[in-house]
């Protein structure tokens, strides 16, 4: 009797394991990833997210702009950022695999888990309000600190930086079903390099902490001097050369 139950349980487990391996094959992951061991909970989590994601994408509007004969399969590499789709609970339904390039985080790990688990504690409120105040055709924007395994440890040069986090500029758009949010994320340029290349169309100004201009290169002089200063840009406040409606934004950023 005991043996019968035991072999029954064993048989059931075998059947289950077979279905798990079938499920693993169906997961939309590159072979390089799916060949590695993915635990069963992760498989189920990914499968659920995948099914949920396709419930959104099979909505009637899908055929909107689908008349192209050509479309590249590496468009994510063309972008300077990545995408996230979250459901109404804030769980990640989709996250571009390119997140690993920007943050070192893994698609497999994040899919199906709450996105706020990856946001800096102090930025959660900002994120949730941006998500909630999003309207159709009215994207919300904010800057967030998101966990990253690519940041260097805090050093004396970056006293105020948060170690282990990277700043993303995000734009949140409401999905076709208003319970989803499409989030596009663009990383901020990180001053890892000690030098920045300047294109011929850019100019450089250096200001003091009071944003008073102390240096302007030739291009800046050419572009700004005639408009904003009769003789010398030096000593001109940066606040006086910006659009007045932006002064509050700059003030906040300078603080």
């Amino acid at each position: 009797m005991m043996r019968a139950t035991k072999s029954q349980a064993q048989q059931r487990r075998q059947l289950e394991n077979f279905e798990f391996s079938q499920l693993a094959k169906e997961l939309p992951l590159a072979r390089a990833i799916s060949d590695q061991h993915i635990d069963k909970t992760t498989m189920v989590r990914l499968a659920t997210s995948y099914i949920k994601l396709h419930e959104i994408f099979t909505s009637p509007n899908k055929g909107y702009y689908c008349h192209d004969s050509y479309w590249t399969s590496n468009h994510l590499e063309l972008l300077d950022g990545f995408f996230i789709i979250i459901d109404r609970r804030g769980d990640v339904l989709y996250i571009s695999e390119t997140i690993s390039i920007y943050l070192g985080l893994s698609q497999v790990e994040m899919t199906g888990n709450p996105f706020i688990d990856y946001i800096h504690q102090q930025d959660i409120e900002c994120f949730t309000s941006a998500v909630n105040y999003c309207h159709p055709n009215w994207p919300q924007m904010c800057n967030l600190r998101v966990k990253s395994s690519l940041t260097k440890r805090a050093n004396k040069d970056a006293i105020r930086a948060s170690p282990g986090y990277k700043v993303l500029k995000i734009e949140i758009t409401m999905g076709e079903t208003c319970s989803t949010r499409l989030i596009s994320c663009y990383p901020m340029p990180t001053p890892i390099l000690s030098t920045l290349s300047i294109s011929s169309q850019s100019f450089v100004i250096i200001t003091g902490l009071d944003l008073c201009i102390s240096y302007a290169d030739d291009k800046a002089i050419q572009m700004l001097q005639s408009i904003y200063a009769s003789n010398n840009l030096k000593g001109v406040s940066f606040y006086s050369i910006i659009d007045i409606m932006d002064s509050e934004i700059i003030r906040k950023n300078a603080l």
């Binding site: 289950e16 499920l23 997961l27 939309p28 590159a30 799916s34 909970t41 189920v44 499968a47 659920t48 997210s49 995948y50 099914i51 994601l53 702009y65 689908c66 008349h67 192209d68 004969s69 050509y70 479309w71 590249t72 399969s73 468009h75 063309l78 972008l79 300077d80 995408f83 609970r89 899919t111 199906g112 709450p114 706020i116 998500v131 909630n132 055709n137 009215w138 994207p139 734009e171 999905g175 499409l182 596009s184 001053p191 390099l193 000690s194 030098t195 920045l196 300047i198 294109s199 011929s200 450089v204 902490l209 290169d217 406040s237 606040y239 006086s240 659009d243 007045i244 409606m245 300078a254």
Partner: protein, 450 residues
């Protein structure tokens, strides 16, 4: 905790009941205990620790399996809760169905959560972007995605086989050429972030630029009328009667046209252009159409005026810049505004209802202003003044009944912090032309208006 904050305001009805403690990673509690306990205890705790982990794992699995069962239509159709094996089988069948539906061509298939078409849709919806391919030698557009339509209000045919130069702002053409030719010309200056100095980089130090490209340019908008995506959120540039919007382009240079594009073999730029969206409404927002902002310097002169002023009161920015702020007011209100400005400089907040000049008449207006201080040096920078033109006459309630005065009867006051002589001089110079209308506008004609 934080999860509640997120869920509450957004959606109400969810069948979500997940015990956080059971699903989170094993807390550090047990790990820490291990270090503190002696040999026998340690073993016991290790065993408990292990069974605890196992319990959490099982709970987590049950939760995910139940969720999966909810998502698979065949399971939901059963009417009873199926066992784990059935759920898994049905999930596999369902996933196969989705995948089969999503895959269009097997050749370029790469497993991913979203198909190419779905990603194109996502790029359009979330980033207002579209893909395009341009030949580097000729600047000819080899391909553009149909998702250009809602972004630029242009049809695919408007771009295809055209020269990119015709599609972008004339001032950006030189920049685009630099980006396409792949030379080092555009990047010969370098900013050293440590010393803060700008250096010219020797041309020999870097032989070639990487194939990666990222630039900003202005692209021409079409006039397909009903489509106007994000029209209040994108900065517009005008040139020769055409509207241009700011686009971010990112991509790379390829040595040959991508497969599927019929073009002579030459290097080309494959890129996604996405619309630069402002964090605030740019213009014509329902709440701010009747508003314009003015920057006032310490001596009371206007140094910046929102260009919306032209639409609102019919006066040009050039006519106004350099004039005293109170010149904008009805002659009878000039003194009120000037006094309010003096009070504002001594830290009194300002909210005022007066009449302002328009090209032909006067309009009631609510002015609110504040002193903008440099946040670092705490020095006065300028005054930011928002002018709200009152359209409904009921809202109009002048703060003080100002007796009508002679318009140009400005009494020079030596105690005033302003150079009033300068003011009258400026007035005299302009009196001959456009400002004539102001001087001529009879004060009495306005009274009927309000």
């Amino acid at each position: 905790m934080a999860q509640d904050v997120f869920m509450d305001p957004w959606q109400t009805a969810t069948s979500f009941s997940m015990e956080d403690e059971d699903l989170g990673m094993p807390s550090g509690k047990y790990a820490r205990m291990d270090d503190e306990m002696g040999g026998e205890n340690k073993e016991r705790f290790a065993r408990e620790n292990h069974s605890e982990i196992e319990r959490r794992r099982r709970n987590k699995m049950t939760h995910y399996i139940n969720e999966l069962a909810e998502m698979v239509p065949q399971c939901a159709a059963l009417g009873r809760k199926p066992d784990k094996l059935t759920i898994l089988r049905m999930a596999v069948t369902h996933m196969k169905a989705i995948r089969g539906h999503a895959v269009h061509d097997e050749t370029s298939y790469k497993p991913s959560f979203l198909s190419d078409q779905e990603l194109k849709h996502l790029i359009l919806e979330a980033a207002n972007g579209f893909l395009f391919v341009v030949c580097c030698q000729t600047g000819r557009v080899l391909y553009v995605a149909d998702s250009i339509v809602p972004v630029l209000n242009l049809k695919q045919e408007d771009w295809l086989h055209r020269n990119l130069n015709e599609l972008i702002h004339p001032d950006d053409q030189e920049k685009i050429r630099d980006q396409l030719c792949g030379s080092e010309v555009s990047v010969n200056k370098v900013l050293d972030l440590k010393s803060g100095s700008v250096k010219r980089e020797g041309t020999s130090s870097r032989v070639h630029m990487s194939c990666r490209r990222g630039f900003i340019c202005r692209m021409r908008l079409g006039n397909l009328e009903p489509l106007h995506r994000l029209r209040n959120r994108r900065p517009l540039f005008q040139h020769a009667g055409q509207n241009y919007v700011v686009m971010h382009c990112t991509g790379y240079i390829k040595n040959a046209p991508p497969q599927g594009i019929d073009a002579p073999s030459s290097s080309c730029l494959v890129a996604i252009a996405r619309l630069q969206v402002a964090s605030m409404p740019i213009c014509a927002d329902p709440t701010s159409t009747s508003q314009f902002a003015v920057r006032v310097s310490e001596d009371g002169k206007m140094t910046f005026i929102d260009c919306k002023v032209t639409d609102l009161i019919g006066l040009n920015v050039d006519q106004l810049i350099g004039r005293y702020w109170w010149n904008l007011a009805h002659p009878a209100d000039e003194k009120t505004l000037q006094d309010a400005f003096v009070a504002l400089l001594s830290d009194q907040p300002m909210r005022l209802q007066i009449r302002v000049r328009t090209a032909t008449d006067y309009a009631p207006c609510t002015i609110s202003a504040y002193k903008f201080m440099n946040p670092y040096s705490e020095q006065f920078e300028y005054v930011v003044a928002t002018h709200q033109i009152v359209t409904s006459t009921e809202e109009w309630n002048p703060t003080a009944a100002v007796p009508p005065q002679q318009p140009q009867q400005q009494v020079p006051n030596n105690n005033a912090p302003f150079d009033t002589s300068d003011y009258s001089a400026a007035y005299a110079v302009n009196n001959g032309n456009t400002w004539q209308q102001w001087a001529d506008a009879p004060g009495s004609s306005t009274s009927g208006g309000f």
